[in-house]
């Protein structure tokens, strides 16, 4: 049965259902319960934004483990435990913190299987928050998924809605490879209909949210809803957009994008991450290589500028992509001046 729940609840529910199904699934991270060793309530936090709240009460201290602020140790422990029979879900909190533990992710987890000649299985999920708009400034607002997507051996998942979050997270937990799961912090309060029962959304299958014939708009994470807004606005001007959410950047469902561009002949890629070597370039380049013949206009990338994320709300609003900027880019590839 479907009922409306928030993105936050969807993540929580996915975790709870998988932990119930499989005793090898454990959770760890800083304050994923919250209150370890303290005088008051344990399970006080559920992470800084309350996403895992209640799971400690449900599953107890052997399944939900608070950690010291030692990301290398506990992310590495999740990885090591995955090679030794558990299926840990580790929370890195903000993706911005990857810099203190990246080695365990890209040199260890990502490479075990290859380096060991196919003999390792590392079913670990690393959850983290991404994105701007929270006025959280330069070290708590980054996306950084291009850095993970770059690394062979990792899978990268960017859910764009509550429904997507639940299905993709359950898939991630059941997947036998290391998966990085990027949750946009501005999506947590978004609600939509989500089935109560467990379900999975396969990796590497893009979601075509809207079919269209004039231009293909590929967007990730929170950008998907902005792309949909833009598409609606453009429809009023008679421009028909196909909106595609790749869901996973690694593996990437290039086929769906290439096919779409094959029809529309025009591509706009929307990516909230910094503009250099990001997913916008990745997808654009792929299309320029493999669907060139179909292209009827320059590809356009809608991204923030090449700057750190500013704190001031006035500046951050300018920094982030918006539906208007997306619509303007589509008009541009359509050869129409800004409306």
């Amino acid at each position: 049965m479907a009922r409306k729940i928030s993105f936050r609840q969807a993540v929580n529910e996915a975790l709870a259902q998988e932990m119930t199904r499989d005793p090898r699934v454990i959770l760890m991270g800083e304050d994923v319960a919250g209150g370890a060793g303290a005088a008051g309530e344990h399970d006080a936090w559920g992470g800084p934004l309350g996403v895992t709240k209640g799971l400690y009460t449900k599953f107890g201290p052997t399944r939900v483990l608070d950690t010291p602020i030692s990301e290398s140790a506990f992310i590495g422990a999740a990885i090591g435990a995955a090679t030794a029979g558990l299926r840990p879900v580790a929370e890195l909190m903000f993706v911005d913190f990857m810099g203190v533990c990246f080695d365990q992710i890209y040199n260890q987890a990502a490479k075990f299987r290859y380096m060991f000649g196919g003999k390792a299985v590392t079913p670990v999920v690393i959850r983290c928050m991404i994105g701007g708009g929270f006025r959280a400034a330069a070290q708590h607002s980054q996306c950084l998924y291009p850095l993970f997507t770059h690394i062979p051996g990792l899978k990268c998942v960017i859910p764009s809605s509550p429904y997507e979050a639940k299905g993709l997270l359950i898939e991630a937990i059941r997947d036998d490879d290391p998966v990085i799961f990027f949750e946009h912090k501005l999506l947590y309060d978004v609600e939509e209909e989500v089935p109560e029962e467990a379900y999975t959304i396969p990796f590497g299958e893009a979601n075509v949210l809207r079919e269209g014939k004039d231009a293909t708009v590929v967007a990730l994470g929170r950008m998907v809803s902005l792309a949909m807004q833009a598409a609606q606005a453009l429809a009023k001007d008679g421009i028909s957009c196909e909106v595609i959410d790749p869901r996973t950047t690694s593996p990437l469902d290039a086929d769906t994008i290439l096919e779409s561009v094959g029809t529309t002949g025009r591509l706009v890629v929307v990516d909230e991450s910094s503009p250099r070597c990001n997913m916008a370039t990745d997808i654009s380049a792929r299309v320029a290589q493999d669907a060139f013949a179909a292209l009827r206009a320059p590809i356009r990338m809608v991204t923030p500028p090449h700057t750190p994320v500013p704190f001031s709300p006035a500046l951050e609003d300018l920094y982030l992509p918006t539906a208007d900027k997306i619509a303007a880019a589509v008009r541009q590839v359509m050869g129409r001046a800004a409306a």
Binding site: D31, F134, H306, P313, L318
Partner: protein
């Protein structure tokens, strides 16, 4: 206590009071919705920042702070008006609105920045200390770290490096009992952080962090040791924070009335007042006058911040590199 003259005592009191008042007002303004983002308040821990920084030179000595950085800023001599502008994200802020509470910094005052990364500061402090040593400036550098930050690999590494290079550095651990909602009794396996000093080849001391004078004395010893070229030290200050981890934290992990009791029995300002009064060094009216003065100062800072414009759109693209 006896080593401080009247002016110094007044300055210490003034700075501690400034921090307290600053934080109480930021707390209110955050609750009002006037301040965006993540804000971590330092109220309750004033004796640490001031007891240490009062012995540092603005032009020579460096500190690196944490996410809980307002107090260290004020103690190191940063201007409260521009600080408040920064926290509001306004034009003319200490970082012109680009950093906010978590990245407030003032290199001209030797304040290397609050830091959004737990454990981000200690390596940087090694660098400032190395610069002082290499350039023979006579300066020292102090890392402020939380109990939670004491478990970050960067912190451990920095302590070892500081010893290997015999750097003029001090590692101050502000153990306020919690990292977010996690008690330090859980996260610091050895109990007292100071027990780690020996493993990094440096002396370590545990100090009552509510007691300005105890902090001052311990810091003096460590700073003098550093200045003399004898290498780094570790100080662990046991103290408490009065507000939540960040603004908005419901603090259900804390004991019932925990904060109320702390405000009552473990207030560094109350303790300071009592001590200097009993010793006949300062009297209450003097200090009350400072309180009033500071209240007006901070009220002015808040009013100024509220009235100020946001930074101009053109600043979005500046300050990325030296050339633009």
């Amino acid at each position: 206590m006896l080593q401080l003259n009247r002016d110094e005592l007044l300055q210490a009191y003034r700075r501690m009071r400034t921090i307290r008042e600053f934080e109480e007002r930021v707390h209110d303004e955050f609750a009002n919705g006037a301040i965006p983002g993540f804000v971590h308040l330092y109220a309750g821990e004033e004796a640490s920042a001031v007891g240490v920084c009062q012995q540092l030179r603005e032009d020579l000595d460096y500190i690196a702070s944490t996410h809980r950085g307002h107090g260290h800023c004020i103690a190191k001599g940063c201007d409260v008006d521009t600080m408040m502008l920064e926290i509001f994200g306004k034009q003319g802020g200490l970082c012109n609105g680009k950093g906010g509470s978590m990245h407030i910094a003032d290199l001209d005052k030797g304040m290397m920045g609050a830091n959004g990364i737990v454990g981000g500061g200690p390596p940087l402090v090694c660098g400032a200390a190395l610069a002082a040593k290499t350039l023979k400036t006579g300066g020292v550098a102090v890392a402020f770290v939380g109990d939670g930050g004491s478990n970050q690999g960067t912190t451990f590494e920095a302590m070892n490096l500081a010893s290997v290079w015999k750097l003029p550095a001090v590692f101050v651990f502000e153990n306020n009992g919690y990292a977010e909602a996690t008690a330090s009794s859980y996260s610091v396996a050895c109990g007292d952080i100071a027990r780690r000093a020996d493993g990094f080849g440096m002396p370590g001391r545990i100090v009552d962090g509510h007691d300005f004078f105890a902090v001052y004395d311990a810091a003096q010893e460590a700073i003098e040791r550093a200045r003399a070229g004898d290498g780094p030290s570790l100080l662990e200050f046991k103290l408490n924070r009065y507000f939540g981890h960040f603004e908005g934290d419901a603090q259900t992990y804390r004991g019932k009335d925990e904060v109320a009791k702390l405000r009552e029995s473990k207030d560094c300002l109350t303790l300071f007042r009592r001590r200097v009064s009993e010793a006949g060094l300062l009297d209450a009216p003097q200090m009350d006058a400072i309180d009033a003065e500071i209240q007006a100062l901070i009220a002015g800072a808040v009013a100024g911040a509220k009235a100020a414009p946001y930074p101009g759109a053109e600043t979005l693209l500046t300050d990325v590199y030296v050339s633009y």
